[in-house]
């Protein structure tokens, strides 16, 4: 059992590890170790196409993650705190469907929507950051909803109930009581939405117009023809940023859990 586990584990991590190691390889060839070098990092920062794409991707990811967190939290709230409303089952269905929908279908359908809307009402005038953001909100709000929903189902509801009994209006109860409790879940939802957006190639390719290339689109066009060392350097930087983000999120949740367990005892 342990052998299989270790094997599976190595299987998950060795490729990432090798990517990091080879980003410092002076040689252009993977098979040759040409000595330690940071030349690919220098090359990376001089590549304007990559810098522009990275800036666009960060902008898209931050905006879409924020909206996805708002909508996803509202959806989670609707499903856990609002008594049965009309179309609830249907709502559950279309909320979860983007989680398993193949990206090519989501991407194609959104593009055709944008094109048709443009024909009918003249909006959106052109496809770019805006349309990619809309597409990303749509598929990542489901992830936020799942995370927030599970937190809302497991949290202790006695505080909410007490506030309601004392005449608190639902909106105030949500802002004053529920929101602080679910905020770590919302944060991890935001981070997940941010990462998913930063990583998406297929949906962004469909939703974007000519000229606006996100980072994954640039990476894809570069690596389609084979291994390029500056992408190794880029990958290492992304892994570094993500690790720091996860460490911070983990630390916040750890502190939150600790204070929660102190309250309970």
């Amino acid at each position: 059992m342990l052998t299989i586990f270790s094997f599976g584990f190595a299987f998950l991590y060795v490729p990432i590890f090798l990517l990091v190691v080879y980003s410092f390889n002076d040689s252009r060839l993977i098979s040759v170790w040409g000595g330690f070098s940071t030349r690919w990092y220098t090359a990376l920062f001089e590549d304007e196409q990559i810098i522009d794409a990275a800036l666009l991707s960060l902008q898209v990811a931050a905006t879409s993650a924020t909206f996805a967190t708002i909508f996803g939290t509202l959806a989670g709230l609707a499903l856990t705190r609002m008594a049965n409303f009309r179309g609830r089952l249907f709502f559950t269905g279309i909320l979860a469907a983007p989680l398993v929908m193949p990206e090519v279908i989501t991407g194609l359908s959104l593009l055709l929507l944008f094109v048709s809307l443009q024909e009918l009402i003249g909006w959106p005038g052109s496809r770019g950051a805006m349309t990619i953001i809309i597409a990303h909100i749509t598929f990542s709000m489901a992830y936020v909803a799942v995370i927030v929903q599970s937190r809302m189902l497991t949290m202790n509801r006695s505080l909410e109930e007490a506030a309601m009994d004392l005449g608190g209006r639902p909106f105030r109860v949500f802002v004053d009581i529920t929101l602080p409790i679910i905020s770590p879940a919302m944060l991890s939802g935001w981070l997940l939405a941010f990462t998913l957006s930063l990583d998406d190639l297929v949906i962004a390719s469909f939703a974007s117009g000519a000229g606006s290339n996100t980072l994954p689109m640039v990476i894809f066009s570069k690596v389609k023809l084979g291994v390029t060392p500056d992408i190794n350097a880029l990958a290492t930087l992304i892994i570094l940023v993500v690790s720091i983000g996860i460490a911070i999120a983990g630390w916040i949740m750890f502190k939150q859990n600790k204070s929660l367990s102190q309250q309970n005892t």
Binding site: M1, I4, F5, G8, L12, P15, I16, L18, L19, Y22, L29, I30, F71, G72, L74, A75, L77, A78, M82, F85, G87, F91, T92, I94, A97, V100, P102, E103, V104, L108, S109, L112, L113, E119, I134, A135, I137, T138, M141, A145, L153, G167, R169, P170, F171, F174, T195, D199, L201, S205, I219, F220, V223, K224, G226, V227, L234, I238, V242, G250
Partner: protein, 303 residues
């Protein structure tokens, strides 16, 4: 009791909570499918956008659905498409089996380790999922290519005399899919095995059950919902996968996701791409509904 103004405020809040995400999903998820379906019946033309108009005002309502089945007939006639569909089903199915074979022991190992260790192990399974999917697939290009790490090592040790072609083969596609979707298999399996009552195991063993027997008669049936959820979470997205066959696969590993992508971006035949998407959706609708059902059930059980 609430005064009328407060009551109005409560109602408004309730409306916002439900209607805002609902409306968003209807507009940007549901309506687009209707459009895909509609366009799959139109004919391609050389124009911008490259398909015959959706809404032709000159026609009355009966003719509104000015569809043609041309695209679907074409899909049937040309081998390329149904070979792509079949290959996608095959690749997704075999990859799911491998994910299960590798993922089940891993999930089991995590579930039966001490609780303090459990969260760390689980975190380590989730971690790769947070790093870029595209870059993790790309990492395999450097490992598998003819002058890549595996071939260099084998050549150096003298196991082989000339490099083996691994990149741009079906093998690489299977490897890539199992690699990227393994966490999706492990997580639902773990969630299920974690609740497994180990007393049942001890009881069965005490009564003389052989390990294999205990596994078959007790562990396996209990973890069946996890197996189903995990398998569907791997099978459904793998079926429409584009990036992995595009980067790791060869010319003979054309899957339907890539066919659709090429039809759209290379051939610019939007109506045909829509028809390809519609059929893919029809194939996947059954497993998707099945997945939703099992998910809804497990949410109910937890709450």
């Amino acid at each position: 009791m609430a005064n009328p103004r407060q009551a109005l405020g409560d109602l408004l809040w309730r409306r916002i909570v439900i209607v805002l995400p609902y409306l968003w999903l209807v507009l940007f998820f549901l309506v687009p499918f209707a459009i895909v379906f509609k366009i799959s019946f139109s004919d391609p033309i050389v124009a911008q956008p490259p398909f015959t108009p959706l809404f032709d005002q000159s026609q009355n309502f009966l003719n509104w659905f000015q569809g043609s089945l041309n695209n679907y007939l074409f899909l049937l006639e040309d081998n390329l498409y149904w070979v792509s569909y079949l290959r996608s089903i095959k690749v997704a199915f075999i990859s799911t089996i491998f994910c299960l074979l590798l993922g089940y022991p891993m999930a089991y190992y995590i579930a039966q380790s001490p609780p303090t260790k459990r969260n760390v192990l689980l975190m380590l399974i989730i971690l790769p999922f947070w790093t870029s999917f595209l870059l993790r697939v790309y990492a395999w290009m450097g490992i598998l290519s003819t002058n890549g790490i595996i071939n260099s090592m084998f050549l150096w040790t003298g196991i082989i005399d000339e490099p083996i072609q691994m990149l741009y083969t079906n093998f690489a596609v299977y490897l890539g899919i199992v690699y990227t979707y393994l966490p999706f298999m492990i997580l639902p399996l773990y969630a299920n095995l974690e609740r497994l009552d180990l007393n049942l195991h001890d009881a069965a063993a005490d009564l003389g059950g052989k390990p294999l027997q205990v596994f078959r008669d007790i562990t396996l049936p209990v973890s069946l919902p996890g197996i189903i959820a995990g398998s569907l979470l791997v099978f459904i997205p793998a079926m429409g996968e584009f990036v992995i066959p595009a980067l790791l696969g060869g010319l003979d590993s054309l899957m339907i996701g890539r066919t659709l992508y090429d039809e759209f971006f290379v051939n610019r035949d939007w109506p045909l791409a829509s028809a390809v998407a519609t059929i893919l959706l029809l194939i996947l609708v059954l497993p998707m509904v099945f997945f939703q059902r099992t998910q809804a059930k497990s949410v109910e059980e937890n709450s």
